[in-house]
Amino acid sequence: MELANKKISGTKIKRNLLPYYYLVPAFLIMGVITFYPLIYQVIISFTNFETKHLLLGLNSPELKFVGLKNYIDIFTGALPVENFNFFRVLEFNFWWALSNVFLHVPAGVLIAVMLNTEGLWLKKLYRALYILPVVVPPIVVATVWRNIFDEQYGAMNQLLTSISILFGHLDPVHLRWLTEYTPPIPGFLPGAPLTLAYYAMMIANFWLGWPLMSVIATGALQSIPRDLYEAAAIDGATSFQQFRNITIPLLTPAMMPAAVYGFTITFNLFGLVFFMTGGGPARSTELLVTFAYNLVRNLRWFGVAAAFAVIIFFVALVVLLITNRITRATQSYSEA
């Protein structure tokens, strides 16, 4: 703003106020519909706000300030909700996001590399069709997979039946994908049982997730200079060595932000979980966001829900600080 300094002081003051003028519309509106509600949320998180207080809100005579009770109840599992344990949900939530990203990114990279093979037939057709899952809105994907995993009429059990008939088993497969509580691999994740519904969701989300990673990986593969591979080949490097020492390190800077993006999206993946399992069976696939939604929409404990939202906020803050550090570390790596 060197120009500003040359002007006379009257316009200088006006100029100094200008940036604030530009901010006024956004901050006026956000003040009313974003910041005020968020503060309101923090206030009611210390109250016993329930349905009966809906009419008068904070002016209700029988609304009580209960201090930290809502927070303590959430952490100690003292809420009168069946099968709820905050730390189990938190653990499952992290595991859910991590396990998804650790499958999607490598699968996306490997498929992108495979489709990069010179002389592969029908390459263009594959590329065109593999992108379809990215295009379908996730909310539709969730409902469709919900029906695919239907235990009576679902396509998954029908598919498994036709496969098992090939192997001579004539009984129809009748897996209770979304309702069976006994985990197929017991004790896999200590403290949080991974039910069949988790695997069903993993399958659905894998279908949804890897193609985007593949698109990003393809873009990054394109920018790797071909000479590197030629030089490596002359030096006698096998294709596996080329993959490990050229492709992977040069893909990392592009894939890391993508992985972080995938992690944050999956961490709060409300639609898929809510539509497929609703958090069940017995809250085994409940995420923080779906449980918060249950608190508001079904149980209507607004005070507890507000406290829960505040907790989610801090979890998200921690996640942000960690992922930011990871992205930054890889950025400096790419510049070096």
Partner: protein, 337 residues
């Protein structure tokens, strides 16, 4: 990406399809056994990708109203009965498809436009001026992004729920919470902001604004400052620069931000499902949810499938046209300090 830019202007999809295959020494033929092995793998992946899509398309083109008893992935009949039924009678309630469509479009376009209009000046201010409190205010805008949709929807539900228009009788209307009926009368509820599309729109806008501001700021940062300096030398003041230079240059990104918002709002479910109770206000996404799982014991699956295809189409079209910008905007641009 910049190193290899023979075709920089093209859609990502086009580039994806026609890109050079780097990473291989040229002129060497693929051995047949490797070709076949890779083909088998590719076909298997193709099957897994196409499986749900073919399943739902086949189902939507079937005229059978019974639930599927065996797996069918290739249509044996082409019948548009299900589509016709969905378009005539989307739900069990007397609500027309047009009404649902209007609700969905109104909500997604309305929120997208309002968020954009409000965000662009703030983004400009953050991008171009250096002022006291800049960092503080930017962090303030970022804070709501950490709150999931549910977290912002809850307090808004409580606040908007208190805003009501009530008919007290004898031709008197009252606006709660500021003006109540005389004598503690409850009156007849005419309008509750919480239980209306307007209320849902307000709540979604509250969540959409911070993203729009950050996304636009990220883009405005990339517009060279020289242009404005040149304009200033020619005597343009800051307002003129904004309207005549920045805004036209930012148009493409405004469009992208709008469409990213559109895709998200088209599928919006959390807030509308929490707020709305009257079937006439329902959106297409809510209708689709009502057609699955426990709620759907009476709904034939071919109708569900037709609805799924209909809800998916607008997003699919937008995505295919703007893929490069959307993928790029989400993964690299966007939120940068």
């Amino acid at each position: 990406m910049s190193a290899n830019s023979q075709t920089p202007k093209k859609n990502l999809l086009v580039r994806f399809l026609t890109m050079n295959t780097s990473g291989q020494t040229s002129g060497r033929d693929l051995p047949l056994w490797r070709q076949l092995l890779t083909q088998i793998l590719c076909l298997f992946i193709l099957f897994s990708v196409m499986f749900p899509i073919m399943y739902i398309v086949t189902l939507s083109l079937s005229s059978k109203t019974t639930r599927p008893s065996s797996l069918q992935l290739i249509p044996t009949e082409i019948s548009f009965v299900a589509y016709k039924q969905v378009l005539d009678h989307p739900t069990g309630n007397p609500v027309s498809f047009i009404q649902l469509l209007r609700n969905s479009i109104g909500l997604s376009v309305g929120v997208g436009l309002v968020a954009l209009l409000v965000a662009v000046t703030a983004a400009y201010s953050f991008s171009r001026f250096n002022f006291k409190m800049r960092e503080v205010l930017m962090v303030l805008v970022f804070i709501p992004l950490l709150m999931p949709g549910v977290g912002l929807a809850t307090p808004l539900y409580l606040l908007l729920n208190q805003l009501k228009i009530v008919d007290c009788g004898q031709g008197v209307t009252a606006l709660l919470p500021w003006f109540a009926c005389d004598g503690g009368l409850k009156g007849r509820l005419i309008f509750n902001l919480r239980d209306s599309l307007l209320g849902v729109g307000i709540a979604i806008t509250a969540g959409a604004l911070p993203f729009a501001i950050w996304n636009l700021k990220g883009y405005l940062d990339t517009i060279p400052k020289e242009l404005e300096e040149a304009a200033a030398i020619d005597g343009a003041d800051t307002n003129q620069t904004f309207w005549k230079i920045i805004l036209p240059l930012a148009m493409p990104q405004l469009a992208v931000t709008f469409f990213i918002g559109f895709i998200g709002n088209w599928q919006e479910f959390v807030t509308s499902w929490l707020f709305l109770s009257q079937p006439k206000d329902y959106t297409l996404a809510m209708t689709l949810y009502n057609m699955t799982g426990q709620y759907a014991s009476s709904i034939p699956w071919n109708r569900f499938a037709a609805m799924a295809v209909i809800v998916a189409l607008p997003v699919a079209v937008v995505y295919i046209f703007l893929q490069k910008q959307i993928v790029g905007g989400l993964t690299t641009g966007g939120v940068k300090g």
